[in-house]
C-alpha cells in the first residue's frame, strides 16, 4: 500500500514557505502585542504557537489520507460544517454584536473558517464530473449556487460580511476556472444588473446606511475612517527600511485597531518598511505559484479544481486583507493568512497546505 513515490514527490518548497510564513507571523505577533498593550495575560504569540502545533497535526493528517478518499466524504464534511454554523447562530459567543465563535471547553472555534474548505471540496467534486471545454450551463450552475448560498446566508446572519463575501469569491473563482458557457454568463451578468438595484430598494434605511459606511469609511470619521487613517500612518511611516523590530510607535501607542488580528500587516509595515512588505508579498506570490504548480502537475480534474479552490482562498484573503489596511478596500474582518492571530484561521490554512501537499504527492499514482 505504501508507495515510496509519496516521499519522492513530497513538495518541500511548500513546506519551507509555510515555515517561513509561520515564523514571520509569530515574530510580528510578538511585536504587535508586546510593544503596545502591557497586558501580560494576553500571551497571543504563545497561543499562536500552540495553534500552529495543532495546525501541523491537521496538515499531516490531511496529506496522509488520499484526497480521493476525502472526496468520497466531502458531502459529510460539508454537512458537518453547516451544522456547526447553525449551532453558532444558536449558541455562539456574542462578541461585539456578532456570533462567530463556538465555545468548546477552553478554546473556541470559528466554524466559518472551516466551511470555506468544505465548500471547496463539494464544489470541486461537483465540477470535476461536469467540466468540459464548452463551459457550464445555467442549469448546471444551480447546485453550486445552492451549495454556496446556504453557508452564505448563515454567515451573513452572524453577521460576518467579510467571510460571507469570501465564500462567494472562492466559489466564483472556481466556477470561472471551470468555465461558464458564454450564453449562461451573459444571463448571469444581466440578472445581477437587474437584481442589485432591486435589492437596494428593498433594504431598510439603516441597512443602506450600514452598507454605505462599509463602502465609504470616510462616512464614519470617528470609527472605521479613523482606523484607516491610523493604519495608513503606521504603514507610511515605516518608509523603506522600517523603524526596526519592536520600535513601531503607532503600534506602541495603541493607535492601531485590532493590531494583532486584522491590522497586523500595519505593524509589520511600520517596523520593517517597504523591504518587509515587499518580502511578504513575494512570499505570498511564491505560495500561490507553488499551489498552482501543484495543480499544473496533477492529472485528474478533481485534484486540479481542489488545488485551484485552495489557492483562490489563500490569495483572496491576502489581497483583501492587505487592500483593506492600506485603504484600497472597505474594512471587513478578513484575517491575513499565517500572520493574523486566530486559531481557526491558522488551522484552516495549515489544512489548505496539507491538501496541496496531498495532491502533489499523489500526482503519478495510477492504479
Amino acid at each position: 500500500m505504501f508507495d515510496r513515490r509519496l516521499i519522492k514527490y513530497f513538495d518541500w518548497g511548500l513546506l519551507w514557505l509555510t515555515i517561513i510564513l509561520g515564523l514571520v507571523g509569530i515574530i510580528t505577533l510578538y511585536s504587535a502585542i508586546s510593544a503596545g498593550a502591557n497586558n501580560p495575560h494576553e500571551m497571543f504569540h504563545i497561543k499562536q504557537l500552540v495553534w500552529y502545533g495543532i495546525g501541523i497535526v491537521a496538515m499531516v493528517a490531511c496529506f496522509l489520507i488520499d484526497y480521493k478518499t476525502i472526496e468520497q466524504w466531502s458531502h459529510v464534511i460539508y454537512t458537518g460544517c453547516i451544522s456547526l454554523l447553525v449551532l453558532v447562530l444558536g449558541y455562539g459567543k456574542l462578541v461585539s454584536g456578532s456570533r462567530r465563535w463556538l465555545g468548546l471547553g477552553p478554546v473556541s472555534i470559528q466554524p466559518s473558517e472551516f466551511i470555506k474548505i468544505a465548500l471547496i471540496f463539494v464544489l470541486a467534486r461537483y465540477y470535476s464530473r461536469l467540466v468540459n471545454t464548452r463551459g457550464l450551463t445555467i442549469r448546471e450552475l444551480i447546485t453550486p449556487i445552492v451549495l454556496t448560498a446556504i453557508p452564505f446566508g448563515l454567515i451573513v446572519r452572524q453577521p460576518d460580511l467579510g467571510t460571507a463575501m469570501l465564500l462567494i469569491l472562492i466559489a466564483g473563482s472556481m466556477t470561472v476556472f471551470v468555465k461558464i458557457e458564454r450564453r449562461s454568463l451573459s444571463y448571469i451578468v444581466a440578472s445581477c444588473t437587474v437584481a442589485i438595484p432591486l435589492v437596494w430598494l428593498l433594504l431598510k434605511d439603516y441597512q443602506k446606511q450600514r452598507i454605505l459606511t462599509f463602502l465609504y469609511p470616510e462616512r464614519e470619521p470617528l470609527g472605521a475612517g479613523y482606523h484607516i487613517i491610523q493604519s495608513k500612518i503606521a504603514i507610511g511611516s515605516g518608509m523603506i527600511s522600517g523603524k526596526g523590530f519592536l520600535k513601531g510607535t503607532q503600534n506602541a501607542l495603541s493607535f492601531l485597531p485590532e493590531q494583532h488580528t486584522d491590522f497586523i500587516f500595519s505593524v509589520l509595515a511600520e517596523e520593517w518598511g517597504l523591504i518587509g512588505t515587499t518580502g511578504l508579498l513575494f512570499l505570498f506570490l511564491m505560495l500561490t505559484a507553488c499551489g498552482l504548480s501543484v495543480a499544473h502537475g496533477c492529472r485528474d480534474p478533481f485534484g486540479i479544481i481542489l488545488a485551484v479552490g485552495v489557492v483562490s482562498m489563500i490569495s483572496w484573503q491576502v489581497i483583501i486583507n492587505i487592500s483593506m489596511v492600506i485603504g484600497l478596500m472597505p474594512v471587513v474582518g478578513v484575517p491575513l493568512p499565517f500572520i493574523s492571530y486566530g486559531g481557526s484561521s491558522v488551522v484552516s490554512m495549515m489544512i489548505c497546505i496539507g491538501l496541496l501537499m496531498n495532491i502533489s504527492m499523489r500526482r503519478f499514482m495510477i492504479k
Partner: protein
C-alpha cells in the same frame, strides 16, 4: 478506485487546464503587483509626511456627547433640560512638564494635589493621548482663570458638556427619576453598549425606563493637534444627534399642588384620568433633590438619604404596599352582590360588634350603625355588615374578586420597581407561613385589613375602573415621544386591561354608595365635599397596630409609628368623571382622616381651572 481511471485527462484537456492555470497565476500576480505599487506610494512617496504625522501622533478623536432629550408636562411646560457644564480635562502626553501644570491647576481649582494625581492614576488608561477628566462643572469663574492662564497650562482643556438640569427642585422627582454614573455591572449589558465608563445614565423613574429614547447619539470630530495638545485643524465632524423629547401625562400645576398638600407628611398622591389611564400627578413624600445626583453626591449625603426613616428614595405610589382598609369594602360588596349573597334591599342590624367563633369583632363605631344595607354600609363604612358578608363569601371567593379587580398584580405602568401587593388566600398562607387559614382572618381581609397589601397606584386604577363603568385601563406616564425637531416618534394609546367582575347593576349600586360617602348627611367624607362638583369616593383607615380592649383614651397616646394610615380613593365629577385620585397619608388616620382633604382639594383645583375644559 476504478472510477478515477476514466476521469484521467487526455493530452488535449490537460493543455486546456494548463492554459487556464496560467491565466489564474497571471491575475493573482497582477493583484499583488498593484498592492506593491500602493505600498511603494505610501511608504516611499508619501512616507515623509506619514512619518511626521506618526511622530506627533497628532490626529485625535474628540467626542461630542449628545444633548439628552427634554421632558415636558402635558401642557408643554418644560420640566427637565440641560445646562452647559464646563469640565476640565488633562491630556498627560501634552502636559509637559506634568508636575508644574498640576501645581498651577491646584491654585485655580481649590482641589488638593493628591486628588488630581489620584484622578490620573485611577483613570486606568495607559493611553496618554486621551484626555482624563479632572474636575466636572468648574463654573464660569474658574473657567475664566483657566482660559486666561492657558499658556501655563499645556495639555489642559475645558470641554462644554450638557448637564442634566431639573428645573423644579424636588418636584415629581420619583416619577422623573435621576441620572447616575454607569456601574460595572451595567457596562456589561448590551442595552448600554454605546455608553462608556464614567458617563451618566438614567437610574430611576422615567430617566431609566426611557433611556434609549432620551440618550441620543454621540458625535465627534477628528482633529489635528499641536505639541501643546491644542487643536490646530478640524479634519472631520460628525454632529451629535439629540435624544428624543418626552411629553409626560402629568399636569405640572396639579403635581405642584399635590406636593404642597403632602408637605410635612409621609405619604403618596396619585391622580389619573379614568378613561385614558393618563397619570395627572404622582407625588411621593418626602422627596429629594435630583440635581444633587447629577452633580455627584458624597457618600455621606447618600447615606443620610438612604437611612431616612421616611424613605425619601422610594416612590410610594408604586413601590410602597399598604393594607387597603375600607376602600377594599367596595370589592367585598361587589363579590357579595355578584355572588347573590345579598341584594340592594337586604339589611342587617349592626350593634357595634360581630360575634364570630368565640371572639367579638368590633365595628369602628362603638355604638353601632343600627339597621344597614349594602349602600348605607359603604356610606358609613360599617364593619359589621362586611364581617357578615365576608364570612358568607369565604376567603377564596373574596380573593378571586380582588384579583379580578387588579390587586395582587402589577398595573403595567412603564416604570421600574413596581410592587405587586398581595391578595391573601388560604393556599398562600399555608405555603408562606405553614399554618392553616383561620376563618376569623377572612373577616379582617373582607374589610381590607389583615394580610392584604396594595399600592396607591393599584387603588387609583381600581377606582378609575369604577368611575369608568367597569373598564380597567393601564396607567400611562408618557403621552408622546418626539424628536428634537418635533416629529412624533411614538404616541401612547389608551390600553385596556379587561373589566371589573361586576354587572352594570352592581356598579350602579357601588357608585351610588360612593356618592353618598361624600355627599349624604351621614357619609364618612362629608367634610370634604366640593361646592358645585359631585365628588365621590371612599375613606379608609389602615391599621398598623391592632388595638385590643376598649379604652379609647389609649389612642391618643399611641406613638407616631404605630398610628394608622389614612386612605382616600375617589373620583369627580360623579357624571362623566375627569379625575380619579388615590391618597395615602402614613400614620395620618387615627384622629381625623388626613387623606380625604388632599384628594378633594386636588380634584377641585383640577376641575375648576379652565385649561381642562
Amino acid at each position: 478506485m476504478v472510477e478515477t481511471v476514466d476521469t484521467y485527462l487526455d493530452a488535449a484537456s490537460s493543455d486546456w487546464y494548463k492554459q487556464r492555470l496560467a491565466i489564474m497565476l497571471f491575475c493573482i500576480a497582477v493583484a499583488i503587483i498593484i498592492l506593491f505599487f500602493r505600498l511603494l506610494y505610501l511608504q516611499v512617496i508619501e512616507g515623509e509626511e506619514y512619518k511626521r504625522l506618526s511622530e506627533n501622533n497628532c490626529i485625535r478623536i474628540q467626542s461630542t456627547p449628545p444633548p439628552r432629550g427634554l421632558i415636558f408636562d402635558r401642557n408643554g411646560e418644560l420640566l427637565v433640560d440641560n445646562r452647559p457644564s464646563f469640565d476640565l480635562y488633562i491630556t498627560v502626553k501634552d502636559a509637559k512638564p506634568l508636575a508644574r501644570t498640576l501645581e498651577n491647576l491646584v491654585r485655580f481649582l481649590n482641589v488638593p494635589m493628591s486628588e488630581l494625581k489620584a484622578k490620573i492614576v485611577n483613570s486606568g488608561t495607559r493611553v496618554y493621548y486621551k484626555p482624563i477628566l479632572l474636575k466636572k462643572d468648574i463654573g464660569r469663574d474658574v473657567l475664566a482663570l483657566v482660559e486666561a492662564h492657558k499658556f501655563d497650562l499645556p495639555g489642559v482643556l475645558v470641554k462644554v458638556d450638557p448637564r442634566r438640569h431639573y428645573i423644579y427642585k424636588q418636584s415629581a422627582a420619583h416619577l422623573i427619576g435621576y441620572l447616575g454614573e454607569i456601574n460595572r455591572e451595567e457596562l456589561k449589558l448590551s442595552y448600554y453598549k454605546d455608553i462608556r465608563p464614567g458617563e451618566l445614565i438614567g437610574k430611576f423613574g422615567i430617566e431609566k425606563k426611557y433611556e434609549v429614547h432620551l440618550i441620543g447619539k454621540r458625535g465627534g470630530c477628528q482633529v489635528e493637534v499641536n505639541s501643546m495638545g491644542q487643536v490646530v485643524r478640524l479634519l472631520k465632524t460628525v454632529d451629535a444627534i439629540p435624544g428624543h423629547n418626552l411629553l409626560l401625562t402629568i399636569d405640572h400645576k396639579l403635581q405642584k399642588k399635590a406636593e404642597e398638600l403632602l408637605a410635612n407628611v409621609s405619604g403618596a398622591v396619585v391622580a389619573m384620568e379614568p378613561a385614558t389611564g393618563q397619570i395627572l400627578a404622582m407625588a411621593s413624600s418626602p422627596s429629594f433633590d435630583q440635581n444633587a445626583f447629577v452633580n455627584g453626591m458624597s457618600y455621606k449625603e447618600w447615606d443620610i438619604l438612604k437611612s431616612n426613616p421616611f424613605r425619601p428614595m422610594e416612590n410610594k405610589v408604586i413601590q410602597a404596599e399598604y393594607p387597603p382598609a375600607s376602600p377594599y369594602k367596595i370589592i367585598t360588596a361587589i363579590a357579595a352582590l355578584e355572588e347573590g349573597i345579598i341584594d340592594q334591599t337586604n339589611s342587617l342590624f349592626c350593634p357595634g360588634h360581630y360575634r364570630f367563633g368565640n371572639r367579638n369583632y368590633r365595628c369602628w363605631k362603638r355604638t353601632g350603625h343600627g339597621k344597614v344595607n349594602v349602600v348605607s354600609a359603604l356610606e358609613e363604612s360599617c364593619d359589621v355588615f362586611f364581617y357578615y358578608v365576608s364570612q358568607r363569601l369565604g376567603i377564596d371567593r373574596i380573593s378571586r374578586y380582588a384579583r379580578a379587580c387588579g390587586l395582587g398584580t402589577a398595573t403595567g405602568i412603564a416604570l421600574a420597581h413596581e410592587a405587586k401587593g398581595l391578595v391573601p388566600t388560604a393556599e398562600w398562607k399555608k405555603r408562606r407561613h405553614g399554618i392553616r387559614w383561620q376563618k376569623g382572618e377572612t373577616l379582617s381581609v373582607g374589610i381590607g385589613q389583615g394580610y392584604n397589601l396594595v399600592t396607591p397606584l393599584q387603588m387609583v386604577v381600581f377606582i378609575s375602573a369604577i368611575a369608568n363603568k367597569g373598564k380597567r385601563v393601564v396607567p400611562l406616564v408618557v403621552s408622546h415621544i418626539e424628536t428634537a425637531q418635533g416629529n412624533i416618534v411614538r404616541k401612547s394609546a389608551v390600553k385596556m386591561n379587561g373589566s371589573l367582575p361586576a354587572s352594570p347593576g352592581t356598579l350602579a349600586i357601588i357608585r351610588k354608595s360612593l356618592w353618598k360617602v361624600v355627599n349624604s348627611r351621614r357619609g364618612t367624607a362629608r367634610n370634604v365635599r366640593i361646592k358645585g362638583i359631585e365628588f365621590t369616593g371612599k375613606t379608609g383607615t389602615a391599621q398598623v397596630f391592632s388595638h385590643k380592649g376598649t379604652n379609647s383614651d389609649r389612642k391618643k397616646t399611641i406613638e407616631y409609628h404605630l398610628k394608622s394610615h389614612a386612605w382616600f380613593v375617589g373620583y369627580a365629577p360623579f357624571h362623566n368623571p375627569k379625575i380619579a385620585v388615590a391618597v395615602i397619608v402614613e400614620h395620618g388616620g387615627d384622629d381625623t382622616n388626613m387623606a380625604s382633604p388632599i384628594a378633594s382639594k386636588l380634584a377641585e383645583l383640577y376641575l375648576k381651572s379652565d385649561s381642562h375644559f
